[in-house]
């Protein structure tokens, strides 16, 4: 009952009431309602949200079939408003866990990779995950948002995925060379050992293939997801805006052929608690959330996310955004030994794939009447081998 009366305000304020007596509660409630009314009259248009963070999900190829929470604005569409958008996210990923021993080079890829290529250099099966990923993923999204009320927004998203060799390898290698990073060493991910713009997707766990694909796939429909976003409070001059976001991915059990690369056949769901605070032209957003994976296919059963986003509003309808996102690894901890007595061996290196990673992103958002545009890039800065190297993304849409 109390919650209903103070709809739009943080729940933790309500919980404080529980610890106080009824008489005091009524006095406080009166003061609170007055403050809300006064506050609302002073806040036509939120000071704590702008055009919002960059809505980009983790793009690492192994995590593509699963739900992943994306950063989002704390504000919602107004009641009755709609937004339809299309977007594309192009991610270049190169990981070769056999690079240090040169067990997988151009020669082995042309011959066709076998599971023996993922054993250690003595030919023994090793524990943990071994990877050879030379991929560019293109995730196209069709998205529809609808404002159920002024503080509640519904979203439906359908992805279409393509995995191929792409076009970014030579540019990335050139940038590495420019800044003095060798493409034949760990810093350059051993890219120099492989052909550019080829597609190979191999994941091996404890000596057995999980994925082994070198056939390009185009526009395979992934599993759709829906979401609800509830703006609990717009905040004020001191308090931040508070928003809870829930997402749900539908299961599609049709996983024949190439579909098994982009569908899990299980239900995933997740949440993000988002806070935002405005400082005149600067707006900062924080988010903390978790994705629960229903059918994990041997990978992690949950993924934790945090983001921080800084928006600089050039004008009312134009912003630059800098963003960092951290997330736990899609690879769970394995029995791979993290120490070795024979130098830095593969099993010891593989044990690092379960470490959480971070990426930074920079983007631009623009509104012109009913049309909006968002574009930017994402860069991995940890080089742990369980994250994309570089991502470009665009989204365009229309509001009505």
């Amino acid at each position: 009952m109390v919650v209903a009366k103070i709809q739009g305000y943080p729940r933790y304020l309500c919980f404080l009431f529980i610890y106080m007596k009824i008489k005091g509660l009524l006095k406080l409630l009166s003061a609170f309602i007055i403050s809300i009314a006064w506050n609302n009259s002073a806040q036509a248009g939120s000071i704590n949200s702008g055009l919002g963070p960059l809505e980009i999900r983790p793009q690492f190829i192994v995590s593509q079939p699963f739900l992943a929470m994306t950063p989002e604005n704390s504000s919602t569409l107004k009641g009755g408003e709609s937004r339809l958008s299309v977007g594309i996210e192009i991610a270049n990923t190169f990981v070769n866990t056999q690079g240090p021993t040169e067990q997988i080079t151009k020669k082995e890829v042309v011959r066709g990779l076998t599971k023996e290529d993922f054993y250690d250099k003595n030919g023994d099966v090793i524990k943990g995950y071994s990877l050879y990923l030379d991929v560019e993923t293109k995730r196209k999204n069709l998205k529809y948002n609808y404002g159920i009320s002024d503080t509640l927004e519904f979203k439906l998203k359908i992805p279409f995925l393509s995995f191929d060799g792409g076009f970014m390898d030579s540019s990335i290698e050139s940038v590495h060379s420019l800044i003095g990073v060798s493409n034949f060493k760990q810093g350059g991910a051993y890219r120099g050992l492989s052909e550019r713009n080829k597609y190979d997707y191999y994941v091996v766990k404890d000596g057995k293939f999980v994925y082994a694909s070198n056939q390009i796939i185009y526009n395979v429909r992934g599993e759709p997801s829906m979401g609800l976003k509830w703006n609990l409070s717009e905040g004020g001059n001191v308090m931040p805006a508070v928003t809870l976001k829930l997402s749900y991915k539908f299961a599609n059990s049709d996983r024949n052929g190439e579909q098994k690369l982009v569908r899990t056949g299980g239900v995933d769901w997740g949440h993000y608690l988002i806070l935002s605070k405005g400082f005149d032209k600067w707006i900062v957003y924080f988010g903390d959330g978790k994705t629960r994976i229903g059918q994990n296919l041997g990978f992690a059963s949950s993924i934790y996310h945090q983001f921080m986003s800084m928006e600089y509003r050039i004008e009312e309808e134009e912003s630059f955004v800098f963003q960092t996102v951290s997330q736990s690894s899609i690879f769970p901890e394995t029995a791979a030994n993290s120490r070795s007595t024979v130098g830095g061996n593969q099993e010891q290196r593989n044990s690092n794939l379960s470490v959480a990673t971070s990426v930074s992103a920079f983007g631009y958002k623009f509104f012109s009447g009913p049309i909006f545009w968002e574009t930017g890039f994402v860069q991995d800065y940890n080089n742990f081998g369980n994250e994309t190297d570089f991502v470009l993304f665009w989204e365009m849409g229309v509001n009505w």
């Binding site: 006064w38 308090m239 993290s338 007595t341 690092n352």
Partner: protein
């Protein structure tokens, strides 16, 4: 009595936080700063820190550390804040980076640690005539690489362990001394950031107690 104090405080918080519309916005200020200082990773941050036992665990096998636990981070900061008369609140982003090599008394074992912290949080200033004291708190993430080369008798084990601290916590206070657009910044910071090193299954403290001095440019 306690109940009354709580009620009064809560009422004031409600009224102040949700109703304070009387503040006028004077300006938004942006600061860039470069800082350098000493960080004692063996000294836990009061109230929030937990001591790391990873190096102590290695000491029990390889002898005492030859070096102290101090590191010398280089820090770049970017801050912006909105002034409201003589007080101001804002947001800051900091990049910390340091490296340290530890060796041991009893054998030639060695551990190299490199860490990069991306920290962000809220800052509050008082704008005096000559000094701008501030305090702040926040979180972020730390990425670290630990390279072990451990000698036991005639055998040597090696390991390279990556790690990330997802939810470090820091608080800090300090003062800015403005000299036109440029100025001097002094900061005392306390960071809690432990990550479990899988080889020993023990936490390593990447934070600690930090004292910085630096230059800033504001506009």
């Amino acid at each position: 009595m306690v109940s009354k104090v709580l009620k009064t405080t809560f009422t004031l918080i409600c009224l102040f936080f949700h109703v304070s519309t009387g503040w006028c916005v004077d300006q938004t200020v942006v600061y860039y700063a470069v800082q350098y200082g000493q960080q004692d990773t063996g000294n836990t941050a009061p109230l929030v820190g937990q001591s790391g036992s990873y190096l102590k665990s290695l000491e029990s096998k390889h002898g005492a550390l030859k070096e102290n636990r101090q590191v010398s981070p280089k820090v770049l900061t970017f801050d912006f804040y909105k002034t409201n008369g003589s007080v101001a609140s804002g947001f800051g982003l900091e990049v910390h980076r340091y490296k340290k090599i530890y060796t041991f008394e009893n054998d030639p074992s060695q551990v190299d640690i490199s860490a990069v912290g991306l920290l962000y949080g809220l800052n509050f200033y008082y704008r005096g005539d000559f000094l701008f004291p501030f305090l702040g708190f926040g979180t972020g993430n730390y990425s670290a690489k630990v390279e072990e080369e451990l000698v036991t008798g005639s055998s040597t084990t090696v390991g390279t362990i990556f790690g990330q601290v997802d939810k470090p916590f820091y608080y800090k206070f300090g003062v800015r001394i403005p000299l036109n657009g440029l100025g001097i910044i002094l900061t005392q910071q306390y960071i809690s950031a432990n990550f479990d090193v899988s080889t020993e299954n023990k936490p390593l403290s990447l934070g600690g107690t930090v004292t910085f001095i630096g230059l800033y440019y504001g506009f």
